[in-house]
């Protein structure tokens, strides 16, 4: 045994006071076990969060509408104005 061991041996911890176990037991009675079934949240308490998640999902998965093509301008630019009006325009019977 070294000199240091001899010195360290003299520094003994005091004994536990008699009231400590009772104190711990009393505190344990009021403490809720962390993973006790009764302390868990019911599933429906998370309903608000679930609803928000579903709404966010629906919002983000909606396809973005493609920009509408302006076929009138294309037809004009390519010299097919008359053809476009003939195809898309009102029928002659309807106009009269």
């Amino acid at each position: 045994m070294t000199d240091l061991d001899t010195l360290l041996d003299q520094n003994t911890a005091p004994t536990v006071r008699g009231s400590l176990p009772a104190r711990i037991l009393a505190a344990a009675e009021t403490a809720q076990p962390a993973n006790d079934v009764s302390s868990r949240r019911p599933w429906w308490s998370l309903g608000g969060i679930a609803a928000m998640a579903i709404m966010a999902t629906i919002f983000f998965i909606q396809p973005t509408p493609e920009p509408t093509t302006d076929w009138v301008q294309i037809a004009d630019g390519s010299g097919f104005t008359e053809l476009y009006e003939w195809v898309e325009g009102p029928d002659e019977g309807e106009a009269s």
Partner: protein
């Protein structure tokens, strides 16, 4: 459940209280840390059904060491209000222990050590743990534990055995 907790305290309370006392040097603080340690175990108890006694003791030591090291947790709530004051059957501290001057000097030197070195020393000397088990409690590698212990011993030798150390140099 309280019977299980009582049994557990019968087995381990002395060791955990001793560890906390060696780490803090304060009896009331050591009792609070021991209480907090066992309460934490009780709160986690349903998950410990299959754990062996050695595993439980390692866990208790780890929590107690962590609580001692963590300064913030030293300011945790004190539970004494929950229990009505009773006459303590144990002898009063001042009557029970007349600590020698040497013991006071040793405790003071231990308290002056950096916390992790102090923990390694307490686990090794006062809890009689091997380097492997001490390292497991502190969740560090054996080499790191050995290094902490070695530095703690060197510092203590310098502070407690200055005459002999100076003769060796």
């Amino acid at each position: 459940m309280s019977a299980a907790l009582s049994t557990l305290m019968d087995r381990h309370l002395n060791r955990i209280h001793g560890l906390a006392w060696n780490m803090t040097g304060d009896r009331s603080q050591a009792e609070d840390i021991a209480q907090e340690t066992f309460l934490r175990f009780w709160q986690a108890a349903p998950g410990w059904k299959e754990a062996g006694d050695a595993t439980i003791l390692t866990w208790l030591r780890r929590v107690a060491t962590r609580l001692c090291i963590d300064e913030k947790r030293r300011m945790r709530p004190v539970y004494t209000d929950l229990v009505p004051e009773k006459t303590d059957p144990a002898p009063r501290a001042d009557i029970e222990i007349v600590r020698s001057e040497t013991a006071e000097r040793v405790q003071s030197a231990i308290l002056d050590l950096p916390e992790r070195q102090r923990a390694a020393l307490v686990l090794s000397y006062y809890q009689h743990l091997s380097q492997k088990d001490g390292a497991a409690v502190m969740r560090i590698k054996e080499k790191a534990f050995e290094s902490l212990l070695s530095r703690a011993k060197a510092t203590l030798k310098l502070n407690l055995l200055p005459e002999k150390e100076s003769l060796r140099q």
